[in-house]
């Protein structure tokens, strides 16, 4: 039984023409994609750009001259860049044209905005009692703390809270992943429920609780509260990472002579490093950004965190020096950005699960 295929019946395809059309289509799609993405990210980027340009150029008020000039240069540059990306195929030439474009853009920026730039708005960094030196200052009464006190407090808050969350969620996640105990299912359900619960509704009971146990107006109190709120989800994430680590490498370690604890540290923990890093980054950012609980639970000026410093600066000098508020904003957001950039490589691997292939 044979089926004869009549090859001649099919018209001879013009492969070159088909390939040319496919290439064209691919390029058009890429160009469109770049265009849409660039346009879509504009509303997200402009506020940041506003904050930054005002912080380095504003004089008491917020002048948007520099912002518009920057945009006037950046937008065409971006457009030119997306056209370059799709039209030039050869890698070396692409690199050089890109470098040239960058140089031209930077040069143009320097010429157009250069005369407006100054560092006056950043003087809060070295002038410790900044609010008193401003006109009509001190709605909070008394001296403003140094920005470095607030920075230090924020750092302590974020780091201790992060450490606490990472340690507890790692141990709890491991236990939930590996051991069966009465109430395990209920615990897992409870964790999810706790995460879904809006924390704001707890402000008054937490305030009372802190008052009763004497942790009101201490960083320790805030650390404990934020860690407690952050933990359910962190535990859940860590449990997922541990679930992805096969049992047998643990069993293997134990037959190789390790105790359960040694097997955990030497063999299991290295497999969930990515998870621990993710939990750490998110916990740090949560502590760094915290506003609601520090606002309600901390009163003394020496306990201020960056968010409170920013708030009071805004309350006190708004209308007087709104460029400096922008500078503080930039200063406040900088550590988060640095952290993201440093960990980005590991965080993007996270979606692949606990163990890298």
């Amino acid at each position: 039984m044979t089926v004869a295929l009549d090859v001649k019946a099919a018209p001879a395809a013009d492969w070159a023409e088909l390939a040319r059309r496919a290439r064209l289509r691919r390029r058009a799609t890429t160009a469109l994609l770049y265009g849409v993405l660039a346009l879509g990210s504009l509303p997200i980027l402009v506020p940041y750009l506003w904050l930054f340009t005002v912080s380095v150029s504003g004089r008491t008020g917020a002048s948007t001259t520099v912002l518009w000039r920057t945009l006037a240069i950046l937008m065409p540059a971006l457009l030119a860049w997306s056209i370059l990306r799709v039209s030039i195929v050869e890698p070396r030439r692409l690199l050089w044209t890109q470098l040239a474009l960058a140089a031209v853009t930077l040069g143009a920026l320097a010429v157009v905005t250069g005369p407006y730039l100054h560092a006056q708005n950043w003087r809060f960094l070295w002038n410790s009692n900044i609010a008193d030196t401003l006109k009509g200052a001190s709605g909070v009464g008394g001296a403003f703390p140094s920005v470095w006190t607030a920075f230090g407090n924020s750092l302590i808050l974020a780091l201790t809270q992060m450490t606490l969350v990472v340690i507890v969620s790692t141990l709890a996640g491991y236990y939930l992943s590996r051991f069966d105990f009465p109430g395990r299912a209920a615990t897992l359900k409870g964790l999810l429920l706790l995460h879904a619960f809006p924390a704001m509704t707890l402000i008054i009971p937490i305030f009372l609780l802190m008052y009763w146990i004497g942790l009101l107006d201490t960083l320790t109190g805030v650390v404990l509260v934020i860690a407690a709120l952050e933990l359910p989800f962190a535990i859940f994430v860590m449990k997922g990472f541990f679930d992805a680590v096969p049992w047998d490498i643990e069993m293997s370690a134990m037959t190789d002579g390790a105790s359960r604890r040694q097997a955990f540290y030497m063999v299991v923990l290295p497999q969930v490093k990515a998870g621990m890093l993710a939990v750490a980054v998110f916990a740090f950012l949560r502590g760094w950004e915290e506003y609601v609980f520090v606002r309600t639970l901390l009163f003394q000026k020496t306990n201020w965190t960056m968010s409170l410093y920013l708030f009071w600066m805004y309350e006190d000098v708004m209308g007087t020096d709104y460029a400096m508020v922008s500078a503080i904003g930039v200063f406040y957001v900088l550590p988060s950005i640095v952290l993201y950039v440093m960990c980005q490589k590991y965080l993007t691997q996270m979606s692949f699960g606990g163990i890298k292939g």
């Binding site: 096969p246 490498i249 293997s252 370690a253 134990m254 002579g257 063999v267």
Partner: protein, 354 residues
């Protein structure tokens, strides 16, 4: 090296019984294989020996001393898991060295021993790689080196060859066998591949549903299976099993009357291996339904008065074609009790070959 003994060892999880109470002794330096279908409790048995699971019942003895409560890390057992279980974050060398970290072995000595273990399984060129950068066969060798480096009393291999391709499997089979002879370590191999079990091990333990069905040499299991399960599990193509009834020295199967050597009565199951059917001569008549060429041998499906039969004949060329009528005889045939599923001793088919 150790003599291993199991006395009434059982493992249960709630209502699930993975291993029924089992008695077994394995001699010092012996190579045994545990053979059985998926889920019959092979791995569970192995894990109990390694100390990963604690038996629900019974005693495990190493050289006559009970080790039930001895932790896995103190048993000095080398184990190769089915998945190899290499540590993904360590280089091959660190993987092999890992067990030595827990022994009082100096750094230089550990390095030397790890390298010689690597040499033994021929992975010396791969020492700096990560496990993910190795092929399945290489990973398996590394796992073997890691199990051997601590000079274990007992080597446990849980389906170590199941992930390999056919030709590599053949090579590794003889390599593992050779290594075991050289080192003289008591070894238990778990597999559901009967050829692997019978070619590698001195003795084969055939398990089914958590129970040991039979222990014996490959020859014993093939020619003198103790039960219907062993008879049908061992051998490929599988044995022909035909229901019949016996009275005295006569056996009736389907429309055929056969003679027995020895007396028995009642319902029986007759088991005949495919190669025990001689085609072309004999007192019985049948018809060829289908033929399959298997290279060195040819496999026939027959329609006979006894019922459908599978027959195997050496020779690449089929002597009979589909639809041919032929005569045939039965050589060695075994009888089983259908109620107890055990083989009936002292009663076999009288050879009907001419």
């Amino acid at each position: 090296m150790a003599r291993i003994e199991l006395k009434g060892v059982a493992k249960r999880w709630g209502d699930v019984t993975a291993v029924e109470p089992t008695d077994l002794a394995i001699e010092d330096g012996e190579f045994v294989a545990i053979l059985g279908p998926s889920g019959c409790g092979k791995s569970t048995t192995l894990f109990m020996l390694a100390g990963i699971y604690v038996p629900s019942d019974g005693q495990i003895l190493f050289d006559g001393a009970e080790v039930n409560d001895v932790e896995a890390r103190d048993r000095n057992v080398g184990i190769v898991f089915q998945s190899y279980a290499l540590y993904p974050h360590m280089s091959v060398l660190d993987n092999i060295k890992f067990p030595l970290r827990f022994k009082k072995v100096g750094a230089d000595e550990a390095e030397r021993r790890a390298r010689s273990a690597a040499q033994l399984v021929q992975v010396s060129e791969l020492l700096d790689r990560r496990p993910t950068q190795l092929s399945g066969g290489q990973q398996q060798r590394v796992a073997l080196a890691r199990a051997l480096v601590k000079e274990p009393k007992l080597l446990l291999l849980d389906e170590p060859l199941s992930n390999l391709d056919a030709s590599l499997r053949l090579t590794m089979r003889s390599e593992i066998r050779g290594l075991q002879r050289k080192l003289g370590v008591t070894t238990i191999l778990v597999t559901h591949d009967q050829v692997e079990a019978t070619t590698m091990a001195d003795r084969v333990i055939c398990m089914s549903k958590g129970r040991i069905e039979q222990v014996g040499t490959a020859e014993d299991l093939y020619h003198r299976p103790g039960s219907l399960f062993v008879a049908s599990f061992i051998g490929s193509p599988p044995i022909n099993l035909l229901e019949g009834s016996a009275s005295g020295r006569a056996l009736r199967v389907g429309q055929a009357e056969l003679a027995l050597a020895g007396e028995c009565g009642g319902a029986v199951v007759l088991g005949v291996r495919p190669e025990q059917i001689t085609l072309g001569s004999g007192p019985l008549r049948g018809r060829v339904v289908d033929t399959e060429a298997h290279g060195r041998e040819t496999f026939y499906h027959l329609d006979t008065p006894l019922g459908p039969l599978r027959a195997l004949e050496a020779g690449a060329k089929a002597r009979f074609a589909m639809g041919d009528a032929l005569t045939f005889g039965l050589g060695h045939g075994l009888l089983f009790d259908p109620d107890t599923t055990r083989r009936i001793d002292g009663c076999v088919l009288e050879s009907a070959v001419q």
